[in-house]
Point group: C2
DNA sequence: GAAAATATGTCAACAAGACTGACATAAATT
DNA sequence: AATTTATGTCAGTCTTGTTGACATATTTTC
């Protein structure tokens, strides 16, 4: 081949190129530190971020089924099965047979699961409150509206299924 | 053992528990869709998100050294080496011997690398602009301030090394 | 100038968490 | 009775992260 031009480009890619790098990069750094807090706690339990997500949504929507959880997380059955099994085996989540449809497994947190879920979100909540204060935002509505608008419209209905959602 | 209480908890974890779930969850969904755009493009090249990050920062700070890149990405030498080698081998990045310290390798994008980097950030930038509009935010300063405040203070200096940063 | 420290590259091995596709079971629906 | 659905499970793959050891070239220090 060798139809490639190896000349190094020495000027940085900037705003002039029509791209909003500031927010792109801020999101990257912010999200990394945002997830670092719970990650550190999870490590002590031998869990990872995948366990956190499962535990989180089971606590936010107790009784949701495996299919619903797959829909929220957008991962495959196999990926979920692994971490869910560990959470059930170690007593953080229980599975109950669905009352109307007995094929379904409703997922509920145990006391232990509820406590861990809360502990994991506390540092994240603290970070958010501190950031709101530092950025001198009186309420979080603006940030929430922006973040919601960043989500694909088709997926916003799912966010509304969670309790304490903004009542539109 | 069996000192665990298996009783299912049927009430959802809510705001009353003192945690700001709205923003926590909005961040999760927003970041997922935000990264999905470039991921789809990268797949066509046989690259992943790791390649994107490397390519991005090399384009934003042409000439940065391997050590500096490791510092920004906070991954290990080995993790970087794999993806960097692929990017160099396929002509997206070139390595030049450092002029003062010849042990260093300065990283620069090629034309091809610059173009791909821009293509990857375009959909992200479009999503951000659309979200700002939808959330009726005249400018992005508020969002930027909030996201910056979400980052650990020690790491903010690194963000300032990127071009077109807010001049504080 | 010799010794030590530094920047980078590379090797082998491992782990988490995503994926696919196939197949099994029980229960509900047609 | 046949089909579809919800879930579980098996085997195998891929990406991207990890560790620790070691090699090389170069710079810095004594």
């Amino acid at each position: 081949m060798s139809n490639t031009d190896d000349t190094p480009i020495r000027t940085p890619l900037t705003l002039e190129d029509g791209v909003d790098f500031a927010i792109i990069e801020h999101l990257f750094f912010a999200y990394r530190d945002f997830t670092a807090d719970p990650d550190a706690i999870l490590e002590r339990y031998g869990f990872g971020r995948a366990h956190h997500r499962v535990l989180h949504f089971v606590n936010r929507r107790p009784g949701l089924t495996v299919a619903e959880l797959l829909d929220v997380l957008r991962i495959t059955k196999q990926s979920l099965a692994r971490v869910l099994k560990q959470l059930v085996d170690s007593g953080y989540i229980v599975q109950l047979q669905g009352p109307r449809d007995r094929r379904q497994r409703e997922l509920y947190p145990t006391r232990k699961g509820r406590d861990l879920a809360r502990d994991l979100s506390l540092p994240q909540s603290r970070r958010i409150h501190a950031a709101l204060q530092e950025a001198q935002l009186k309420d979080s509505a603006l940030i929430e509206r922006f973040l919601r608008a960043m989500v694909n419209p088709e997926l916003r209905a799912q966010m509304d299924k969670l309790p304490n959602g903004r009542p539109d």
